[in-house]
Chain length 330, copies 4
């Protein structure tokens, strides 16, 4: 339930205010060079600490290798990596135990786990766990060979000028969302399966593991629903499968077609907003109003690109490892 | 790869112009009453044969039970159901073997399966296999108890007036797409998992198994990216978790919250269009133009609602069976 | 639950006295030549119809391909094969509904499936389903390349002279069991995983899917528990890993070591015996005595070798496909 | 590959001379009370440090909870537990890098992981990882309710008098093996599936994850192959399914029948023996003789009972959680 992948299988674990968050990868090929330095850029991108609108909470967030690494290479045995939680202030949360924050998982976690959940800072539901996803992505990217995964923000709070979108939120003392696009070049044709394990199925499965995502569209996406077939179809131009246009976003029939993979996701506004909110106190059964005082991002979308790259790379690494085995047997 | 589900595990198989299509369900509880009659309505809805814009191809499409049924009830052993292919005209396709149709899986199937694929009518990639999905959905719906899954078309070719959208396509001699919405009432809170197996992850995984889907959005979806947090957050109103608004579409933190589940999908225009198209002949290496003469839908979106209901019901039946086991152990 | 394999995934289904038994293979590589003729020898071996001590029930047992085959080759899509049940006499069983036969699954099936199970001839629990295993084995063997799987009977009813063992049973009007050995030559080193997916784990998992198996031992097996370490260890003789002795049976640390794979299984005496038996009538709650009159084997072990080869080949085909993908990536 | 279980899913990781060994459990129900004290008895039993014939290496081996625990109860989120490796002397092993020890995984690990494996003390292949299994077992046992799992040694080096067997080995300056029996009382009928996931399949799968196991037999096991059917069949005595004899060992048709579960395993003699051994030096290509000087057990079987209980409890906990969900739906 907290694992993903058939060959390159990633499990994430941990809580926001527990000892640590981390990940286990079962199925990483032996011999992949791996050092702490490999993680620094993406871990730093995830923090977003210096940007306007991101939370000032900082962790060193250096990966601690607990298993599966020897002489700076993967061994083929399960790889376990921890990230310590150093900078936690649990007091912020405990007093609000009975007051589920709107837009957060507080209520559903309580329903699902019968009150046994670690509720401090969202516990296992915290965005803090995306550091585990990013770490898995660092390793997955190294397995992709020529394929390059790049995600970037298209708009913030409805504005293509990101500074403007952000300033708008600050002025309104409110949080905002955004649109993030992911593109992958250098992918071979043939990844994915016709139905249940279509490339879109697997990518969207992994993408919705990122908190706060509300939608995903491939190629022309929702706009395709308003096009004619003759407009939308991508004419094949050469024997490599290159198409004149790329409305399909690089996937046809669930299978990559060798063109650039393109998809976009919608990130909702951060649930924690400085604005006053209404909710229910489940001890008193009364409505209550409150406003969030803790450390929080105005726009969680700013941190999403590197996480989106990570989960995409995980899916593609898995598909590449999987495809390799069946290729040209006969 | 052609299976989905952890407890209620559905495998689909078959080819458009082979002997049959079908499905196997491993994990269906014993004792569920099931007869041919249960399938008639949804199978008929899928055919869409009497609507403007749907293909005249008809099959009786009566389910043939091959295993797992005894005295009109499921036995708990694997359930196998076949649908015979009666009305196939392979000749339409064979002459175009070397001419991959734009927007279809012809090219990628050839890449992936090295030329061994059954290419007649799209083979295993055919929309014909959605009859297997619909059949799985019929059974899944019976497991949902009070939960009701309903999908409906919101727009066709950009028009909310569906007749108008369809007529527009007929006038342009082209194919069109549409937007379909799915709503589920009566779901308990607590289904889904925080990250990799979030309710959105599982639903989108299953939804992208339906051919021609280009996007999915939950609740306010892409519009959420342009809202403020204070607008988007759904205030919890009572102890059951009922919220005043339902921007989240019934899922928070990956878990159902007891409110109505709401999501929409984008269906691309049918790839087969009466309009002239350009493609590559992979034997000659030359560009070629052609137009589709076979039986095809102008708007495949018209057939999608019942398929969308089916895959959604499959996911929810699996989550309900899964959740049952952990409930109130301690 | 009725599936096995990670890449080469086999699902079996059907009931003894239902319409058919069959199998689905998801993950069979495309391009494998396959015809009805490929199945004849092993299907015939399984029948054992002409041997003393095997049941006279006969089926043509010709495989009917329902999906995944095109131009006599696998397509890479799921392969579905049916075997019709022609020669069923349900009346034998229905009158004994409330009288669970000792040694059979009647009682546990009733407990597990709440009375909804197909009880005719053992239903889904019947040895009839081994025809599905044998069929999967036929395909798996074709994927093994140089590796050859051979199973043979070592003893029947405690006698190495099989005729004598069988005659003994006939004279005693009772059923008997036997020991079957399986050997695989030509396997590469490196298949299997250190712990949970050790080669022994996977093989034994598959082997205990065969009805009536009571034990399995690898290499010297139980005798190893009475040897000294210096006796039991196999000295490595050359760079291919060839060992002087083969007490390990070709597996060390859960991984194949390139030597012959050797293991033995114990088959219990057929549960249906002509001798009078005692059991409980669950309607009356009274003890009852009865003796089996239907068609039954005196010694089910006679039919086991080809089934044992089949499940072994399934495991090895899966491991070979799995290993291929990780080999020499770096 | 290093995971086991469908609902209660255990992943083990770590290396003998790395930083730590550990485990992750995904799917442990929320609310299970769990403290360090719960582990002490079984961890101590595994050490076997004070017995004749077990290695003097000692670790404190206290579980360090890294995730999934809050207020001394499981939260329902993935549980991660580490055990630090404190007492490692890698120097013993590094000089013998090119000299694969007979009976150990050195050669196959090198084949499988292309020389990237952590070879110190067996690395990931080490018996050290059984501490992770034992820890998983401690938790699994708490989920079993009334079912009690007990394993005990039946013989050592062929002797039922264990002291005598051990002294014999010491006198011969050699290592020895043994037979261990496992019994489970209080299990409900109905666990397991007819074929691939038979109770025997799952138990043997898990059991062969324990290093040094060479065989497993259920109930009368190999002796059943020499019995008549009328002798072997267990007569059902009452409505609970209680049988007069228990030759089946509590499993019929792959399903538990409510009687005591009984099986035995064969443990080979410890591969590391004080006796001189022959092997190949893969750098020189020459035969070499050597004898093991490091810390090693004369009889690894002495440590096996608690590990055997652990993997058995893991299987049964998983089956119990799985069964619960399907029970009495209709």
């Amino acid at each position: 339930m907290n694992s993903f992948g058939r060959i390159f299988k990633v499990t994430i674990f941990g809580e926001s205010h527990g000892e640590s968050v981390g990940l286990n990868i079962d199925g990483c090929p032996a011999g992949l060079p791996l050092t702490v330095e490999d993680f620094l850029v993406d871990i730093e991108r995830r923090k977003g600490g210096t940007q306007k609108g991101t939370t000032p909470r900082k962790e060193d967030d250096l990966p601690i290798f607990k298993s599966g690494l020897f002489n700076n290479k993967t061994t083929g045995a399960p790889l376990t990596i921890l990230f310590e939680n150093k900078n936690t202030r649990s007091g912020d949360y405990e007093k609000q135990r009975a007051v589920p924050r709107p837009g957060h998982a507080d209520f559903v976690a309580h329903q699902k786990f019968g009150g046994h959940e670690d509720y401090r800072g969202g516990g296992h539901f915290s965005g803090r766990l995306t550091v585990s996803l990013v770490a898995a992505g660092v390793i997955a990217k190294k397995l992709l060979g020529d394929a390059k995964v790049t995600a970037s923000i298209l708009e913030i709070g409805g504005e293509k000028d990101l500074e403007k979108g952000l300033q708008n939120a600050i002025d309104h003392k409110d949080s905002i969302g955004g649109i993030v696009e992911c593109r992958v070049t250098g992918l071979p044709a043939g990844l994915g399966e016709p139905f249940f394990d279509s490339a879109e199925s697997l990518i969207s499965h992994a993408v919705f593991a990122i908190p706060a995502i509300r939608g995903i569209e491939f190629g022309t996406g929702f706009a395709a629903a308003r096009m004619y077939g003759s407009e939308h179809n991508d004419a094949i131009e050469d024997m490599t499968g290159k198409t004149r246009t790329n409305h399909a976003g690089g996937i046809v029939g669930g299978i990559t077609n060798g063109n650039e993979l393109v998809f976009r996701i919608a990130v909702k506004p951060t649930s924690s907003t400085p604005k006053e909110q209404h909710t229910l106190n489940w001890e008193t059964g009364e409505q209550e109003s409150f406003s969030v005082k803790g450390r929080h991002d105005l726009c969680i979308a700013l941190r999403v690109p590197v996480v989106l790259e990570a989960v995409t790379a995980m899916v593609l690494a898995d598909l590449l490892l999987l495809e390799q085995r069946l290729k040209r047997l006969f």
